[in-house]
């Protein structure tokens, strides 16, 4: 996807495929960042996922407030209330033509806690842990991976052995240590601690990226120009590895939320009286038969968050990776060809006339077997 000067002129259409032409036309005169952003915005599933994720974040943060800030929801997650419907059934009522929330839309537990407030608190906690794990693991992984990949020999060997050592340590043990240490981890300590032991995949990927980038000409050029090693790492190589880093960070986060909820479920993460989505499920799984809503809502939110993060990560990967670009459908290419024909020079007219039949084979060879 290099933007060579000749590529943006119509004459180059002769040499390229018309799918390339669409791609090049779309990226004419844009920076790498703009191209990535555009591709991401066009990825419908990823955009929808991002919307869902934002909605969940905003709802979780504003509804019951964040820290000292008050929220708009009338109950908090610690107080109990008289049961509104028998058994604490949810008051949320979604009909064909109407929607009413009532006092306790997600229902209440046996003591009268408001499930909506508790779920929102759980979402806050789990999201905090997720983001912290992602960021810290990314940071540590980048530093170690960059050092290992840039300085071959001793540094590389030591860093990689160090990585191997951490891969073997089970996360459960870390959770247990934390639980003992701070007497029940808060979201922040848990996130930091788990982040410090989840960076290994990131470290390996960054190292691999650095190993290839290190050999490229622009690094030699920078070195000849007198740049220091740290400057080459930060200013020259790292920006080129940013795609791998961002994509892997999102995937790390989707794993992180599952890790956090699993630990909390087992009682080694966030523990009672604090709330996380994992320990809500652990607490209420026995009442599944009588009060299924206590069990459904936290699970639904875990799945929704993990799914949304996964889709965003997928969209980012497609956006950053030129090889995985979406081949336009035969119809879209025919339309583009017509458009160039209308604008057309003789060269492009010949091209457009020839294309549609050949394209079908090129675009979807699998469908015509």
């Amino acid at each position: 996807m290099s933007l060579l000067p000749g590529d943006s002129t119509p004459t180059s259409l002769d040499s390229g495929k018309s799918e390339n032409a669409i791609e090049l036309k779309a990226t004419e005169g844009l920076s790498q960042g703009q191209i990535v952003r555009r591709r991401f915005v066009r990825h419908r599933a990823a955009m929808a996922a991002l919307g869902v994720l934002l909605f969940i974040v905003v709802m979780a943060v504003t509804s019951i407030g964040w820290g000292p800030l008050p929220g708009w929801w009338k109950w908090d997650y610690t107080s109990t209330h008289p049961v509104a419907l028998p058994g604490g059934r949810p008051t949320l009522d979604i009909g064909f033509w109407h929607l009413s929330f009532g006092d306790h839309p997600f229902g209440q537990d046996i003591l009268g806690h408001d499930m909506f407030a508790m779920t929102m608190r759980g979402v806050q906690q789990s999201l905090t842990v997720m983001v912290l794990i992602g960021l810290i693991a990314a940071l540590v992984g980048i530093v170690i991976g960059a050092l290992a990949g840039f300085f071959p020999g001793k540094v590389d060997t030591v860093a990689m052995r160090f990585t191997d050592m951490f891969i073997a340590v089970p996360a459960l043990v870390i959770g247990a240590v934390l639980g003992k240490w701070v007497n029940g981890a808060s979201a922040v300590t848990l996130g930091v601690a788990l982040g410090l032991v989840q960076w290994m995949s990131m470290g390996r990927l960054v190292r691999a990226e650095f190993l290839t980038l290190r050999e490229r000409e622009f690094v030699d050029a920078a070195r000849v120009a007198g740049a220091s090693s740290s400057r080459i790492i930060v200013k020259h190589i790292l920006p080129n590895a940013i795609g791998v880093v961002i994509v892997n960070t999102t995937l790390l986060m989707s794993l992180a939320i599952l890790l956090e909820t699993s630990l909390s479920y087992l009682g080694f993460g966030i523990v009672y009286p604090d709330i996380s989505l994992g320990n809500l499920i652990s607490e209420y799984q026995t009442s599944f038969a009588e009060r299924p809503w206590l069990f459904w809502w936290p699970g639904v939110f875990i799945v929704a968050i993990a799914l949304a993060v996964n889709f965003v990560g997928d969209g980012l990967r497609d956006a950053f990776d030129p090889r995985q670009r979406r081949i336009p459908s035969a119809r879209a290419m025919a339309r583009a060809a017509r458009r160039t024909l209308a604008a057309g020079s003789p060269g492009t007219r010949r091209l457009a006339g020839l294309r549609p039949k050949g394209e079908k084979d090129g675009a979807q060879p699998e469908a015509t077997q």
């Binding site: 003992k180 240490w181 994992g278 699970g299 799945v303 799914l307 469908a367």
Partner: protein
């Protein structure tokens, strides 16, 4: 590296949990003596670093044959004995699910790669992402509720009902249509067949009370076996290969012919009998393939073996099903066959077929949970590696020289797509083996995960370290295996010593 990791874990456990915690608050009159016993057993009077080296010395003893992993506090057993009991349970749980996940994942991954950017591809992508995002503990509870409790209720009076049958048939038909791809007439044809077949099977099951006394019978085996043979031949030597097709169908015929005689051998079998029968099947398959001969004898033999083994498996399944009504009615089971707790029904009694049925009913739910979750990642791996291969130049060459699409996909693309997968699988298996903690806990299997969890709670360093040694060595072994497999499959890479 392993030494460093063991040191970290040992320190962590020593720091995290107090093996005396329960006793400190107890009011038992022998409290002091018990505390002294445990202190003595674990040498708690020494600092953790010294204890670590003591433990390391014991473990290193295995190098010259008289090692020890210490004693467990929880139940005063040697750690090696506990491990010996836990490992087989976990292997039983994990082996089947890993196998199923790989097969399913590879098949679905290839199907989606061949239909890239189709509705089927998008649907599968969504579903795999969904499975990938499922927390296993949540799924497991749902499975227990709907797979066990509700299904057992349903089994008491198994009537499916016409709307459900229609809906299921429509779903199968839709999936069939989507998978087929290509022209709409072919798609509609496939969809119609799938609809009719599903309707017929479900109506038969509903009307005859098949779920109460299941069984394939010789007719069922004949139909399934023939379908299986044709499918296998279609994939491997191709239906155009008369000898291959002949070998497959002969194997089916032979399997049917020995169906009744084999029943006598299966009255009171042991696993040894089963293994011997399987070997016989393989030998028969080789003989059949050899007999059909031709210039491509090897593919005939391969088909013969696969189909003969398939027929054997069908006969085995049929025999297990025959034991079903008696199993369900037995007092320990009490009409609720799908188990949610433990690996076996305690003190069930009965013969080989009872025990086998019991294992199967207890495996169903945990296996489903594990398969659901790991199958997603295999599908993604296979899909991306298959896509990569399908765009390679040698595939274009293969098509250009006029090979059929089947040969291109099976011989050229599939084999090369397996290379990256083969390096992922060992590492993944090792991870699943150590990571089945949640599944084991929820379904109350007393395997490695449960052992680890309990030991961690009780602050039992010996057992935790035992678990850790096994998983860490598995992980290292898997990494080495992955490298070797890669070097073996890909001649461009050589392991240099």
């Amino acid at each position: 590296m392993l030494l460093g990791a063991t040191f970290i874990v040992y320190m962590a456990v020593a720091f995290a949990a107090d093996p005396l915690a329960a006793l400190r608050t107890s009011t038992s009159p022998t409290r002091v003596q018990q505390m002294e016993r445990i202190t003595d057993l674990l040498s708690l009077d020494l600092p953790p670093v010294v204890r670590y080296f003591k433990w390391l010395g014991g473990a290193a003893g295995y190098l010259w044959g008289n090692g020890t992993l210490g004693m467990s506090v929880v139940n005063s057993q040697a750690v090696s004995a506990i491990l010996g009991a836990a490992v087989p349970t976990t292997v039983k749980l994990v082996a089947l699910s890993v196998l199923m996940a790989i097969v399913l994942g590879v098949v679905v991954g290839i199907a989606t790669a061949l239909r890239q950017y189709s509705a089927f591809d998008y649907l599968t992508t969504f579903v795999t992402f969904l499975f990938y995002s499922l927390p296993v503990f949540w799924v497991a509870v749902l499975l227990k509720e709907f797979g066990a409790i509700k299904f057992n209720d349903f089994l008491a009076d198994p009537h499916i009902g016409l709307p459900t049958i229609l809906a299921a048939a429509c779903c199968v038909a839709l999936i069939g249509t989507l998978v087929t791809g290509g022209r709409w007439r072919i798609r509609a044809f496939v969809g119609g067949i799938a609809f009719a077949a599903t309707m017929a099977v479900l109506l038969y099951i509903d009307q005859t009370g098949w779920l109460l006394r299941p069984g394939l019978g010789i007719i069922g085996i004949a139909i399934t076996g023939t379908c299986f043979a044709v499918a296998m031949v279609a994939i491997s030597p191709g239906l155009g290969n008369r000898r291959g097709l002949g070998a497959g169908l002969t194997a089916v015929a032979l399997g049917l012919a020995v169906y009744f005689p084999v029943q006598f051998a299966l009255v009171r079998p042991t696993w040894l009998t089963i293994a011997l029968l399987a070997l016989t099947a393989v030998a028969a398959g080789i003989a059949i393939g050899w007999g059909w001969g031709g210039d491509d004898r090897r593919s005939g033999i391969r088909t013969g073996i696969v189909v003969a083994l398939g027929m054997g498996a069908l006969t085995f399944v049929d025999r297990v099903m025959q034991a079903w009504p008696a199993y369900v009615a037995s007092p320990r089971v009490g009409g609720r066959p799908i188990g949610t707790i433990g690996a076996v029904t305690p003190s069930l009694g009965g013969n080989f077929w009872f025990a086998t049925t019991d294992v199967v009913t207890h495996l169903v739910l945990p296996t489903t949970a594990l398969v659901l979750i790991s199958f997603a990642s295999y599908t993604r791996y296979t899909r991306s590696s298959m896509l990569e291969v399908m765009n390679a130049d040698y595939i274009r060459t293969a098509r250009a020289k006029g090979l059929t699409e089947r040969v291109v996909v099976v011989r050229h693309a599939f084999r090369n797509a397996l290379i990256p997968l083969a390096t992922v699988i060992p590492i993944d298996v090792a991870a699943v083996f150590g990571g089945a903690v949640l599944t084991e806990r929820i379904f109350s299997w007393r395997g490695m995960g449960t052992m680890f969890l309990e030991a961690l709670r009780a602050g039992d360093p010996g057992t935790v370290m035992g678990y850790f040694l096994v998983t860490a060595m598995l992980a290292i072994g898997a990494n080495i295996l992955a490298d070797l497999v890669y070097a073996w499959l890909d001649p461009r890479i050589r392991v240099t010593s």
